[in-house]
Subunit: 242 residues, 2 copies
């Protein structure tokens, strides 16, 4: 049985902007179902023209593109509250793929109803714009990382941002998150080889800036890690939840 939006566990989190009961009811009507998938399942495919939009309720995923030469670029990591499939709805087709990294639960919406929904709910249109602008901000930072930072700075940056997102979602206990990511995912996100990513992680571990064992990431001091990365710690901004 699908979760009622009013009972959505995410809405209780401080990081999400509250909605009025009426607004929640509207979301409930827009929602057409729920999808649960296992780790490793593709959710949206590059080049496809999916009929659905999703919001992540539970679980972690990755967005990635594949080049003609068979290499893979991880664009971003997907966390609960993220909105998936907008590109496929607004443009002709998806330009990246999304795959589950853990078991995931997704709220499903009909793409064909999107325009009508926006028309009647301008606040939600604004929320979508917010999400999109935020994604753009992140990608700009990622681009700067790949273009201008050393491997050491890049890895520190990526671990920091992952940790910060998890923290906002209350997934951090004892300065530790469980994230089912492989070193290969991180390497592909940063444009580094697996070998070099591994060696860089080792150095960061050695110097006690991070812990990364067995899918558990520890950051004892985000300020110190931010310093290694050459960036500022980013305070979690309240975000809208669709």
């Amino acid at each position: 049985m699908a979760t009622k939006c009013a009972r959505c566990p995410l809405r209780r989190l401080e990081m999400f902007v509250p909605m009025s009961p009426e607004e929640v009811r509207v979301m409930d009507r827009f929602k057409v179902g729920e999808l649960t998938v296992d780790a490793g399942t593709p959710i949206l495919q590059e080049g496809s023209n999916a009929l659905q939009l999703f919001t992540v309720l539970r679980g972690i995923g990755i967005r990635y593109k594949t080049t003609e030469s068979g290499r893979r670029q991880v664009i971003n990591f997907v966390f609960p509250g993220d909105f998936l499939g907008l590109q496929g709805s607004v443009r002709e087709e998806m330009t990246h793929s999304i795959e589950a990294r853990s078991k995931m639960t997704l709220c499903v919406f009909n793409r064909s109803e999107l325009f009508g929904f926006i028309k009647n709910n301008p606040e939600r249109a604004y929320d979508i714009i917010w999400a999109c602008a935020t994604e753009e901000h992140f990608l700009g930072e990622a681009l700067t990382t790949l273009g201008q930072r050393t491997a050491m700075e890049s890895v520190a940056w990526a671990v920091l941002r992952l940790f910060e997102r998890a923290e906002g979602l209350g997934l951090v206990e004892n300065a530790t998150v469980e994230l089912p990511l492989r070193q290969q995912d991180l390497a592909d996100a940063l444009g580094l080889s697996l070998v070099h990513t591994n060696k860089t992680l080792s150095k960061l571990r050695e110097r006690q800036f991070i812990g990364w064992t067995d899918g558990h990431i520890t950051v004892p001091d985000t300020a110190k890690l931010a310093d290694v990365a050459g960036v500022e710690v980013e305070a979690a901004q309240p975000r809208p939840l669709m």
Copy 2:
């Protein structure tokens, strides 16, 4: 005297989605003025909280971020029809700067009126989402370029995409565009050193894939250049014009 939207030279171009006369009138009321700046002028600053939104009417610019260590990452190039300052309107502040590379003319809108405007014009909300999703698509491709492609592929990719955008705007004559970009801009966009960018451009010139002299870029055969870059030629999609 500010140009009336009904007489906007961009609207005549095939690449922009037509608007009804009434829609154009609404845009005209939203527009509060026009801004003309010289090459080199900063238009929006990273970290600032600008009160204005812009649409580019004429001229070329660059978006870029600066790192703490003083390096510069060019995020994207700005062309006529582009919408500027959305991030500053929706989020707390701009996360990148925008600077004119040629003399530019911009249509000015009030940021404070944006929400009301969206509310009353859901088609425009959809257009903003479209623009944002398209930017996201581009940034994903840029990320893939920096992360996975060689210098030769990267430079070919960048020149190709610049050329394609210019072509859609009717700026290409005899397979040539005039773009007031320095090699340093291209280098900073691709995360390459100026020296290596220069040498790579030389090779592409030698092999007749491109011409780049004196701010004039020539691409005799986009398909061949796309082949070097390892990407597909991207057909110009019709885009909304605010």
